[in-house]
Amino acid sequence: MDSTVASTGTEGKTWGGGNKPLVASYGKMMMWFFIVSDALTFSGFLAAYGFSRFKFIKEWPIADEVFTHVPFLHGQELPMIYVAFMTFVLIMSSVTMVLAVDAGHHMNKVKVTLYMFLTIIGGAIFVGSQAWEWATFIQGDYGAVQTKGGNILQFGEYVTVDGEDKFKRISIDDFAVHHSTERTQHQRKNGLWFVTEDPLPPYSVNEIYEGLAANSNILVRTQEINDEGHKTVLSREESLKWVKNNGQLVVKGANLKVNEYGTALFADFFFFITGFHGFHVFSGVVINIIIFFNVILGTYERRGSYEMVEKVGLYWHFVDLVWVFVFTFFYLV
């Protein structure tokens, strides 16, 4: 092998590789490169979300009406509170991570162990909260009717709060007239074995229409946003007409095909982007656990450097960084 490597006599000099302009180790620099490319992936998703949002700019669901739930506080409308908590948990776990890195610089094994442990706990709380957020979103709360054009009609009534007329949503469960079901779900065991069908909606459009006709206080709200920034509420006659003529499907909750809160794309992007971010958090937790055990086993103590903690720390902070943007564009703007 020696014969293939020419010794130039310039080793250690500038043109012999003696100059290290970035003063960063190979591993750290590669982590930065990965982070840049991953940042571009995420911005691709968020820009695609922006595209769809600009396309449906006049009827995009209002996040404050969608994410209103907080665990253990059932039936209260508290927008922003839970997601603010999640954001704080993630920032806090970023702090414990950077404290672990700092303790690593001082070769303090006990502190690195403690802070890594706290970071893992923070990540786990965040992923759990996100799972809960998904479950609530999939479950839905008021239900709606989808029209033939794929738009959403929601129900509610005007109530007077503090001398001001406010539109209060009413759940379809509260007014729909329930007949014995017109048809049952097609299952493999009682029909063609090679054909399946998704679960049927809770009500048919006719049952909703009968309930609407019987309750004169209930009005329909379309997904179109008016000049005041609220969704348009139809008159009583219009309400009945729209449900009767255009209603096609009763929707409860959200999935990749339908979304009771409005445009189905909103749910698609929510699942896709928060899901991809949640997957990053999850893999971050797994990597943190591996590093955590390495710390306990003394691997880095023997190596004489806790740089691995620093590298996984970069990844963890990046996950936090992405969440800051997801938080803004899904919940705030």
């Binding site: 003063v23 911005s43 704080f88 029209t147 054009g149 450097s305 960084l321």
Partner: protein
């Protein structure tokens, strides 16, 4: 092993004695910014819900003006505030938690300029296109009917 940290933020307005102290200081600042966002997000002050400047009208220079002032002409002040605060948070996470402040200028520029340039490009193209599709679908002379 020498790990030197720059121990001041806000261009030296806030100095810290140790790296640990700086971390807690940055946490306090980030929490403060998030709290502002959450409070604005819940109360949505009316002043911030409508644009302060109407689009300029009349010819070429008005169009140029609209492009230059587009964050003020086409965006609600509230959303502008949210986006600016987000970038502020992103800056402090990258600079102090990821220790970008302590890296060399070359590494910093390599990471930041590349992403900022590409992301701005991507966002411009897609948002522009989204606005166009909206006009095709939803304005009065649209050829497609979606609401039925």
């Amino acid at each position: 092993m020498a790990h030197e940290h720059k121990l001041e933020i806000f261009r030296g307005l806030w100095k810290f004695k140790s790296n640990t102290q700086k971390i807690w200081g940055v946490l306090a600042f980030l929490t403060f910014v998030t709290a502002i966002e959450v409070v604005l997000g819940i109360y949505k002050p009316d002043v911030l819900m409508h644009t302060w400047i109407d689009p300029l009208e009349g010819g070429f220079f008005a169009t140029i003006g609209n492009i230059i002032l587009s964050p003020f002409v086409y965006m609600k002040p509230l959303n502008l505030i949210f986006i600016l605060l987000t970038i502020v948070k992103a800056y402090y996470i990258t600079w102090d938690f990821m220790h970008m402040r302590d890296e060399t200028k070359a590494l910093r520029r390599m990471v930041v300029w590349t992403s900022v340039f590409l992301i701005c490009y991507l966002i411009f193209i897609l948002l522009q296109e989204g606005g166009y599709v909206y006009e095709v679908y939803f304005t009065e002379d649209a050829l497609i009917k979606r609401d039925f």
